[in-house]
Amino acid sequence: MNSGLGQRIVNDFSIQVATANGSGSQSSNNVLMRSIFQMGIPVSGKNLFPSNIQGLPTWFTIRVNKDGYVARRKDIDILICMNPETAVEDVKGLAPGSICVYDAPLRLNKVREDLQFFECPFAKLANIPDTEARIRKLLANMCYVGVVAELLQIETAEVESAIAKQFKGKAKAVNVNLLAIKAGADYAKNNLPKLTRYTVERMDKTQGKIIIEGNAAAAIGAVMAGCTVCAWYPITPSSSLCEYFIAYARKYRHEADGKATYGVVQAEDELASAGMVLGAGWAGARAMTSTSGPGMSLMAEFVGLGYYAEIPGVFFDVQRAGPSTGLPTRTMQGDVSFAATLSHGDTKHICLYPGTVQECYEFAIESFNLAEQFQTPIFCLLDLDLGMNNWMADPFPYPDKPIARGKVLDAAKLEELRAAGKTFERYRDVDGDGIPYRTLPGTDHPMASYFTRGTGHNEKALYSEKPDDWVHGLDRLVKKFDTARAHVPAPILSGDKSAEIGLIAYGSTESPMKETTDILTAKGIKTEYLRIRAFPFAKQVHEFIARKKRVYIIEQNRDAQMLQLLKLDINPAEVVKLRSVLHYNGLPVDARSLSDEIMRQEG
């Protein structure tokens, strides 16, 4: 028995709360996380929930880390057991010496002996006077916050202010929840041993920071990007992106007379939402949708139309574990190769891979610009971990670039052309960058109209089956795509420039990378790390690989999808350098698994 022994760990541990979903523990977990956050200590929160609505096991993990490591940690230091269904298994999964706070009836101290147990009679503690039975069930959850706050020495004032924030405007709720907190804390103080192993201590690392989910960040980006049409069909884990968009737009996108500068359609399915995006984009709206794997499959036909007819549109794909319906509430970077060449025939799409919540915001804005500048569907790929979990960030900066609408000719510009004896040809590469000009329906000018189609067409947008027109059109699309290399977000480099070993990651896999490289450095393995932020790949990606001896591509899917895209794009002579590190069990990737695997391959 080593429980409670060993050295005291400050601001570096993880707490897992095991409950059933629909049991209302979300507010409690939020309060617990925010209390620590408000003490200036970096935190991150991950919700591991089942694909149903009520009654199945759910785990919420809060990682507290003074160094700002925010990825999932494999080990749980403090487990709070509220769910009879999984309690025994959960307890069995802990490392010796871990802490287990549990609801008294579960009697978990009988399960093993090498843990430090804290038994709490939550039902009794939640027995706050003047509350209904239903409410008391919820309050039991708040009691564990009180207990843990006391055990970890979280400052009471911060817990109180977190409660005030959580139940803002609902005085009664604030009140009873404070009572529940107090009941828990008092119980711990009076009846439980001291927790000597873990504690929190005030820091100054969260000052001014926000906590936000990636979906909310992307939604705010879309609102700021001037998105005017949003068409969507609900699907986990993407629904909240559009729901946040709607909520923020309702607040910030109505004019003085109450009228909206955006339209929303809850479409009948994903084929329809994709069609609406294209229709809106064609007619000049900045249009978006958001979906996940199954929706991506359903959008395939329309996306090909968008590519070939050159219609702007922003497609958020908040990836979940696939194939098929898969694990709707688990994370995966599984649509990377599918998105890059979605639809039949020869197609290539611009894809952005935000790696942080701030990038969810920035890339959302950038997606709308790129869509119109390149007149094509843009995929912005998040995943469940990034999109639905809680991340700390600096407040997002106000956009410093104006909205870029791309090559649109309005009546005045057409008139200039006419006056200069020139014509408007929808699919002509006037500027040598592969990007043609377009006009919007409704433009009052005799030269404005053209005909859009997914069938073969020539530069004048006339129907054509001529072999040369066809080849010419397809080749220009390749040129346009290559132009994009220099306009999409460039990769970000960090680490040791002189290192032989390169690491490449993207998207939410960013989160464990700092920790991973720190571990590797500590083990004497020097690395330089490049984070890909877009497809097509910028030249820096090629240069990076050229500079390295071995390059590990780290990603969260089975088939090494980004590695595949790289193989197709880089100098064939360098393909031999590429190695793969994969993680695809549906849980967010953790640093230890990565560093272990890299060390294994390094031999």
Partner: protein, 350 residues
């Protein structure tokens, strides 16, 4: 009054807004000669021309099929969009939201609507998106060489000799069931009725469904087909003689003959005049419209005319409470919240 005059060397004829018919025409048709779809195209040209709709305000869309090719054959000066098979309604929905002032017309076929397009058709109608939705109904997939479509009548024979075992979908009955606000049936060769119905549809603020029997001369115009010219001509029963009197100047009082005629005023003051034929049919009575269609189905009648009109339901763009200007060209300051707004959001997340 019947005087024949020798015409003077006339200036080209123009419409109300001073345009000749040219900008209302399109490219030359590539359909089979005699195809019903071409007649419908001609009436569409005429309707927009006679109403004096500025061509550039129109957006013409379609799915895929012979019928869906026709937007290329009218209104050259309007933007056109030949989308993918069966999914034009969603594209139209997006376009109308982007610019609610667009006069949207969509051309579809029976395959494009009643088979692959069924889901989108139903939801278009349910939303009451402001657009004219034309089904050029020939009972077959013309472009893929004559397979039965879902509107082919039970027992109808194919050119190859197969007999259709399935029951037909009645796109009009379905539309009414779904709350469609304008539902009409016509025949591509009934030019006068078709023109009147088109004009009303163009004036209608919500979804205006026109299901037009439009014979496929190549694959479905034989004996035994119920979508042939001969069958349709022999069986057409118009519910009424229909006229449309456009309300152009706010002051023009509309002159309506009394007696055998029923008139319906539209939101903009224009008037539909229905001359009673077999019975005095009231197209604003939904239960009666449904019963009439049911009876026609039962007795295998080919009833044409304005089946149903609902002037009360709001069009989709209206329920969206959009600003008056088209969304597609709003300036940045109207679509990007200011710094204070972003700060407020950020503070709420701290």
């Amino acid at each position: 009054m019947a005087e024949v005059l020798t015409a003077p060397a006339a200036a080209p004829k123009t419409n109300r807004i001073g345009l000749t018919i040219e900008p209302y025409k399109g490219a030359e048709s590539t359909l089979c000669s005699g195809c019903g779809h071409d007649s419908i195209t001609a009436q569409i040209v005429k309707a927009y021309y006679e109403l004096g709709v500025p061509p550039h305000t129109v957006a013409k869309l379609s799915g895929i099929g012979c019928s869906s090719k026709t937007p290329a054959y009218f209104l050259n000066k309007a933007h056109g969009f030949n989308a993918v098979h069966g999914r034009m309604p969603s594209v139209a929905t997006g376009a109308k939201l982007a610019n609610k002032h667009l006069n949207v017309i969509g051309i579809s076929g029976d395959g494009d609507t009643a088979s692959i397009g069924m889901g989108q058709y139903v939801h278009l109608v349910r939303r009451n998106l402001g657009m004219v939705y034309i089904i050029e109904n020939n009972g077959v997939y013309g472009l893929t060489k004559g397979q039965f479509s879902a509107t082919a009548d039970t027992g109808s024979g194919s050119k190859k000799g197969d007999v259709n075992e399935m029951i037909p979908i009645d796109c009009c009955g379905l539309a009414i069931e779904l709350g469609c606000t304008f539902v009409a049936r016509s025949f591509s060769a009934d030019l006068k009725q078709l023109l009147a119905l088109l004009k009303i549809a163009i004036h209608h603020p919500g979804t205006a469904v026109l299901d037009i029997v439009s014979p496929c001369v190549t694959f479905n115009n034989h004996e035994g087909s119920t979508k042939s010219y001969k069958y349709a001509k022999d069986h057409e029963m118009a519910l009424h003689d229909i006229d449309f009197i456009e309300h152009v100047e706010p002051t023009t009082p509309v002159d309506v003959a009394p007696g055998e005629t029923r008139t319906i005023e539209l939101h903009d003051g224009s008037v539909i005049r229905l001359k009673k034929l077999a019975e005095d049919y009231d197209p604003t009575d939904r239960a009666h419209a449904m019963a009439t269609i049911e009876r026609a189905r039962h007795e295998q009648l080919f009833l044409t005319g304005l089946l149903y009109l609902d002037r009360s339901r709001r069009a989709f763009a209206d329920t969206c409470n959009l600003v008056d200007e088209p969304l597609n060209t709003l300036a940045q300051d109207r679509v990007r919240p200011n710094k204070a707004a972003l700060d407020e959001i950020m503070n709420s997340l701290k």
